[in-house]
Symmetry: C2
Subunit: 499 residues, 2 copies
């Protein structure tokens, strides 16, 4: 019982006179226990190495720089931002530029027009708090985008702009987790935002397993098995999270599969949480097109109107890749008005999402159209990023599949590959001695030998006895040969060392 | 017992077949119960009126626009941003501007230099996730700022950049609230972020009362009374929040008073949470200068080294007023390394604060200095905002003090006045019938009659049987006469109506 421990420890610490309000033993044990592997031990070690590389002679390590493949952070690895987006951002930050005689030389006319529209919508300054739910005009544009995408109506009042998808997910989980027996179904492997946040809010992650051998497919039988097991344990299962396209798996769900999932939620009265932040990162659009859960749900007819769906989107992913400004939104479908009022109230405690994040949501959902001054450049930039991502995904998956004891599913979507690695028994034993998960040992040795930072599969959870790592395929194309070479050499040396 | 209620309600709702995961009865009751008056019923009504005013004939109301004095949001009310800050923001958003032949005409050389430095520090793009604790260079600059301000060392590793002060406060409260009997001492009146967040994390607000008749002074006897009462109730009191300069009171603490507060925390083994976001909003700097708790604590000698202090600052207040970009920081003093690691871990789940918020922290703590190209303009802009705020504070306080039955303490600091209003018994009775707090009735009638939105004192808590409201003094100076006139006329009519 963590609560009892925390209560006892506080008084123990008082008695011996030590400082106590903020000690590991006395603080909220949910804070102590939650884990977020994407920025965990590996990422911390990578930061240390990065600092050492800049402060010491580069000869200290057999590499000159850290390649952060632990996180989908494209612009850190050299992806260029979309010009139109940044022109509008700059103009809204410093509206004096609009008055300059040079404005027309420096900025496209549609960027100037958009900046003026946005400045008017936000009351003149990116320095003012906005509406807590997000700037009304931008929510209207999000609703239009959803309508065009899905062919079903969307209401700006159902849309909440957020500081990236993560705070939106956290707000919904915090709202759902009414007591310590609440269960939230999550895929395994999952993006660790889910396990970390569920642990922070003292709920219970209820795992359902994706089928690696079927390109990480999701079966409704497995959902039924998962919820039945959870109920046996006395859990009050309230929601099902689906990540589509998958993170870390890259898998894209078929419409048929999605209909079964919606039906399952309807039968089990589960809130459906659809993490759709990779909706434009779909690299086999003919075979595995992206469909939103909103569209699938709405196409199933009025008997499914009672299904509660919350869909998340972000400016950090896709070809936008604007992680640093923190922007995103969620759309509520079938959610009661009074509950939306509660969401608004809690959102308002943090005042508002960052204005530049909101502006980027506007640009993402309402980009230049054919005929606009910036359209050709916009389209060429987006297409070039997309094609390059697709090439890099294929190339890296092929390289992983060439490694001894490694098998990697193709990336249908997202920004990640999640290869399975067979680790020699001696490596597993060495990990046990080092008190590490075997894949964490592998990843730590990879980092120390090559400067490449990936995340151990154990951070995403995985089927017992299998080992993986997650790597983005974001290193620039002209670094790919070197990147693949470094990993391959390390991998062979690792196998030799532990054989 | 909210937990038991939530558990029962879920199953009740299941039985009758209604949708249930997201109903008021089934969700986290802490979400349902928490209150945040600054953006509560009054602010929601103000938004409705604002929409009506733009969509209908303005004749529908006896005013043309809404004046939002419910929230310290200076740029919404026309305060101009600091030019240097926005030049750097624009250049970091669109670095192509740096290559333009017009750059030197459009931007000051020190803005160009700063943008280059910041772009190098963030790896080239504001679109990349940064270090979860904040960009290292900016944390170094924050540490230098604190050292210059206080005369004591500061360590960049003790500093966490945040998306405004609020998420920092919430992170610390979430960490402190280990179980449902934890108490957090808060001033009354308080900024409702505290009661809202403590309620969300299922802790207990332990009120200590400020002395209105002594310009909202804080007495250590009252702190002792408060903690003793809480202990009698079985609460495990772990921290003391102090807001200095005060919100909503504007009061600035003396060094003597602060030393007693530190000593009280030392004796009672309480973590000291110092909300110092109004540190530059000090309008009587000779009589009531701002001193940081860090400085006071460090000046008290090594026997106080065990005191744990977390100090909060923000870019939203002061003469910066950049609320919309969400930036701030907190500094940990005397906090254990392993606890800071936990704070880092939880911060990393949300990835990073917005890059433009972090950049503005850099500009706030490291503004142009004498001799820099932008210095004269910077100084003139800051001085002009400061002098104007001071004049508006004095003018509005004088106007409030002229109203029948109203008494208002002078604003020593912050952006608010918190006048006490004597309400006629018939108004109190009318409020009872309308199921409103009497001061909420007053504020709602004020809004509907004048378009002026303020916050009822009940939202900040107040001594029983006293009524107040909080108003910013942020309306532009040339609107002040009209603003005061509108409130005065309403006030007289209100008294007549309920006499």
């Amino acid at each position: 019982m963590p609560l009892a421990v925390a209560r006892r420890n506080r008084y123990t610490m008082n008695a011996d006179g030590a400082s106590k309000g903020l000690s590991l033993a006395s603080i909220n044990q949910a804070v102590v226990k939650c884990e977020y592997a994407v920025r965990g031990a590996l990422a911390i070690r990578a930061e240390e190495l990065r600092e050492e590389l800049t402060s010491k002679a580069p000869a200290a390590y057999p590499f000159q720089r850290i390649v952060s493949c632990n996180i989908g952070n494209p612009q850190q690895l050299g992806q260029q931002p979309i010009t139109f987006f940044r022109q509008v951002a700059a103009l809204t930050e410093y509206p004096d530029l609009l008055k300059s005689e040079h404005a027309a030389k420096l900025f496209a006319p549609d960027a100037i027009a958009r900046a003026k529209t946005l400045l008017a919508a936000i009351g003149g300054s990116t320095g003012a708090y906005t509406h807590s739910q997000g700037i009304p005009l931008i929510r209207q544009n999000v609703a239009k985008f959803i309508e065009e995408r899905d062919g079903f109506p969307a209401d700006p009042n159902d849309i909440f702009l957020t500081a990236g998808a993560s705070p939106g997910v956290q707000l919904i989980l915090q709202t759902l987790i009414a007591h310590e027996d609440v269960g939230i179904m999550i895929p395994v492997p999952q993006y660790p935002l889910y396990t970390a946040s569920i642990a922070l809010f003292r709920g219970n992650a209820v795992p359902y397993f994706l089928h690696e051998e079927e390109t990480w497919g999701l079966s409704v039988d497995e959902l039924a098995r998962s919820v039945a097991d959870a109920k046996k344990k006395g859990l009050d299962v309230r929601a099902l999270c689906v990540i589509n396209p998958g993170n870390p798996t890259g898998a894209c769900l078929s419409v048929e599969n999605m209909r079964k999932i919606v039906d399952f939620c309807h039968r089990e009265k589960l809130v459906l949480l659809a993490d759709e932040v990779y909706q434009t990162n779909s690299y086999m659009p003919k075979e595995f097109p992206f469909n939103s859960f909103k569209k699938v749900l709405k196409s199933m007819g009025p008997e499914y109107d009672s299904v509660e769906l919350v869909s998340f989107h972000s400016i950090s992913k896709g070809m936008v890749g604007e992680c640093g400004r923190r922007g995103g939104y969620f759309e509520c479908t079938g959610v009661a008005e009074d509950v939306k009022e509660m969401l608004y109230k809690v959102a308002s405690i943090s005042l508002c999402p960052p204005a530049q994040g909101q502006i980027m949501v506007d640009l993402m959902v309402n980009p230049p159209r054919a005929g606009d001054a910036s359209y050709e450049q916009y389209k060429s930039e987006v297409d070039s990023i997309y094609e390059s991502l697709k090439r890099r995904a294929e190339r890296l998956a092929a390289a992983f599949n060439k490694l001894e004891g490694v098998s990697c599913q193709p990336a249908q979507g997202s920004m990640y590959l999640f290869p399975q690695i067979t680790l020699p028994p001696r490596a597993i034993e060495a990990a046990r001695v080092a008190k590490l998960e075997p894949d964490a040992l592998y990843c730590m040795e990879l980092l120390n030998a090559t400067g490449v930072c990936v995340v151990p599969g154990s951070g995403f959870h995985q089927k017992k006895g299998t080992w993986h790592f997650r790597s983005t395929f974001l290193p620039p194309e002209n670094d790919m040969d070197d990147f693949i070479q470094r990993i391959s050499t390390f991998h062979q040396q690792f196998l030799t060392r532990y054989s």
